[in-house]
Subunit: 596 residues, 2 copies
Amino acid sequence: MPQYRAPIRDFEFLLNEFLDVSQYKDLKGFDTIDQSLISSLIAEGGKFCQEVLFPLNQSGDDEGVKFDKGKVSVPKGFKEAYRSYVEAGWPSFTCDPEYGGQGLPEVINMPITEMICSANLSFGITPGLTHGAYNAIYKHASDDLKKKYLPQMVSGNWSGVMCLTEPQCGTDLGLIRTKAIPDGKNAYKISGSKIFISSGEQDITDNIIHLVLARLPDAPAGVKGISLFLVPKILVKDDGSLAKANNVKCGSIEHKMGIHGSPTCVMNYDEATGFLVGEVNKGLQAMFTMMNEARFYVGIQGLGLSEVSYQNAAIYAKDRLQGRALKGHKYPDKPADPLVVHPDVRRMLLTMRGFNEGARALACYTALQIDITKRHPDEKARQQADDFVQLITPIIKAYFTDAGFESTNLGMQIYGGHGYIKEWGMEQYTRDARIAQLYEGANGIQALDLVGRKLPKKTGKYLRSFFHPASKFIEKHKDNEKMAEFNKELYKALGVAQQASLWIAANGLGNPDEAAAGSVEYLRLMALVVMGYMWAQMAEVCIQKLDNNSSDMLFYQAKLDTAKFFMKKMLPYVYGLLASIVGGSKPVMAMKEEAF
Amino acid sequence: MPQYRAPIRDFEFLLNEFLDVSQYKDLKGFDTIDQSLISSLIAEGGKFCQEVLFPLNQSGDDEGVKFDKGKVSVPKGFKEAYRSYVEAGWPSFTCDPEYGGQGLPEVINMPITEMICSANLSFGITPGLTHGAYNAIYKHASDDLKKKYLPQMVSGNWSGVMCLTEPQCGTDLGLIRTKAIPDGKNAYKISGSKIFISSGEQDITDNIIHLVLARLPDAPAGVKGISLFLVPKILVKDDGSLAKANNVKCGSIEHKMGIHGSPTCVMNYDEATGFLVGEVNKGLQAMFTMMNEARFYVGIQGLGLSEVSYQNAAIYAKDRLQGRALKGHKYPDKPADPLVVHPDVRRMLLTMRGFNEGARALACYTALQIDITKRHPDEKARQQADDFVQLITPIIKAYFTDAGFESTNLGMQIYGGHGYIKEWGMEQYTRDARIAQLYEGANGIQALDLVGRKLPKKTGKYLRSFFHPASKFIEKHKDNEKMAEFNKELYKALGVAQQASLWIAANGLGNPDEAAAGSVEYLRLMALVVMGYMWAQMAEVCIQKLDNNSSDMLFYQAKLDTAKFFMKKMLPYVYGLLASIVGGSKPVMAMKEEAF
């Protein structure tokens, strides 16, 4: 039976020691935040994930969701778990108090999100999407719509879903055909079919609020003619109570590789009543303001699954006896040594851990920047934070989900043949992780966003939001002997990142194919270097703690050991990535289409 | 619906143009081989795979194998397909004519094997294992056993399976507990449980011959006390007819991530009658002579699945309209351009193809070397070929299955969200490919075999079986301008491989952890460079063909374009791998066990 323990200690390290979140008193809503509040919120969230969500993860995968004549039912236990989730107030965590939210920061929400993804990704998708829909409505809808719909979404009584994809269009939303006809009474009749709608229909909330992209009859072609509509599954009276059902029907659900506990629906709208959100023909912009945060949270899914896979792999590696250490028996009294004595098993565990803990640090750091963009009193500070968030979002979405998937595969590999058997639970993490590389913008799209939009922005201003502080950090420690082994590797890797950025910028300017052909390698290279910067900063904290003979030496020493592994064994992959990038676009574009 | 077309043209290129197999007249059994025989055998095999096996692949995955009170039934259609397979004579392809085989070379068998793996891996496992068991019996059993069992295995009427793993031991076979007690009548009573026995029980052959590793009562502990036994599911009379059932029972089957059409059995032997194969306590050596070839063929599984995934991804990329080429509309009359115009989609397709065609060349080249080890009249030539086969076997097993798995993931990625949906067929290739990294020696074990056994062997003699011809090739072309772009990249990469080999040899000598900690990176590095050598040689052939204005220019040009992609975009990963290797073992071994 797989296990999961919320990584409370690591979150406390990051929030209370690495970032010291409680120092940011000037951010709106941070005034009541202190270390003990942080610790207790995370502990409470961790307990819920361990005790309520995780026990349903494997059974949910086995049982899957069911579809019968338009009705969708979730696996056994999910409904009750969702009710507890709502009763504990988790849906309202970061929402605006005006609509019943608790107004808590993203930087504390990020750990809760990670733990939900570790414990039960299929469960987490419904509240995750609701939060995305909340954001879109909160930022773009009229006050009337906000007052009518948000409180129920904040409480979790109603859910929200995003409806973009159609059979003929995924990435290319310009091809959308769903129609919206004004009904002359301040509403619209929405008709069309959407596919891949996660939680589009389910039996756990009283209502489902669909955010649907559609075209008005006179809309211009392409992406400039798309508007966003709020389409409730059940119509809502002015007093907020439920009226009759809207013409929103689930036609079928998909059979998928993983996330079996999450319904992926074909949704049919047949003159369904919808309400405009934001301006006519500006639906895509409205969707995209929400998309950035959604992409950040999809990245966390990769991390969450990698974490639970790591934990089980580590338990197995310490327990399973097989073979002997290369330098002689380590446990001569046992029939064999545990797997963890073998260098390659350690390499796999440390690769997982180098990713997990580095990614967690970067996620917390970014969540704090997101808070600054929303809560800092100073416009310039908000802008600076936003530069970094813009730059890092595609990196987090694509790298966390790619590396997270690879990491779950390492977890399986450590189990040998048992990793392939369902009973052990490891292969589910791999199947579940695979989706995150595909949805919310496939990872190739993230890489294009990075090289095409983010890199050239304001002549490299977004890029400098990373390069400047990292260079300063290196400069600050240049005579610090204890930091030398981290600083030196980071310095070299940062140089590689600058070289790659210059190459992409210079060559992509005249020929966009040059930037696009190396975009995935460039994104991964940047991710490794940003992670290296996080690891170097964490190493700095740990060295101080160890120098001060703090308690919990095992924790700090392990963190420092992982930092060294990252610097020496993972970060050097940047050299191969750079060499591939400068190989250019010619070898990519030469092949004739008919030869494929 | 997924599609599969046997890559006949590429096999013809490799066997008739790249290797020119029909020139090897002095190899036993090669005298009747000519280009037209090769082409017709491959075409016939391809037709069978396309028309009989592939249509059962997706339905076999959906339905899976069934277990009921010790009986195992395979998915619908598998039994009939196996009967056609036997009737067409495929099982006897490479077997010794003395036992009813056709004595055909491995180099022609390799294409058949690849096509079976592409078309239906679950189906292919039973005959694949039978061939492995045939090899073990053929090389190690007494003439009596050979005469009694081999003809029926060669015909395919009976199957053979390998029974190594027990619950407490996978990699570490020294821990085997299954017992063999002499019955005083030239046979043994075998008792114990084996797990993960592929095709251990099924309903498609009249008998199943189990090769079981077990211990005699007085056997020394560990691997030196293991003997190999032939244990038939149904006992065989002296006249070859079937007698009563042996005490061999299937206790249950596993529920797995993939290969759902292949039963993975728990097998219980309760004083089952078994016959010694080879010498007492030398069972492991007997098993390992067979293992080398089995590992080669598991490598081919990775290639086969990558090929079918590529084909479908290429079809989809040319068909699916989404977005526009970065330099402007390529198909202005269509609502969008096909995916294949996008640089990153091309990168994914070419990465798959760079692997597939390079791996296929290496597999054919290696199969020919295997033929030389068995059929060449000259001892020295046999020995030289064996040096290369020894070196390359762990590389093929691990790299082909790792890169094959990654490639099937790229195939899924090209489909976007549709890749995750079962109906499209792409996710099955990924799930099926995942097992090949685990069985027949997990890939970490292959890497240890490479650095621990193969690299130091005869002070680098195995290694020189690759480095020498590759260096000679580079030297030969050093003034050839048309070859410069291939030769230069190969020269640099070969230098990196030599550097890495020296580092591993020098540092591993004093500290085996240094070799083991970088073994997986070293294996991958070597694989890329060996593939680079194959690509450079193929480029040489294609340049000649294009210079001579041969027909089929599209084929040669596409091959040359893929060669350039491999050299410029895939091979450069060696730089990152080298940098990680020289990071050494310290960062891998430092972490305390309890800190994991």
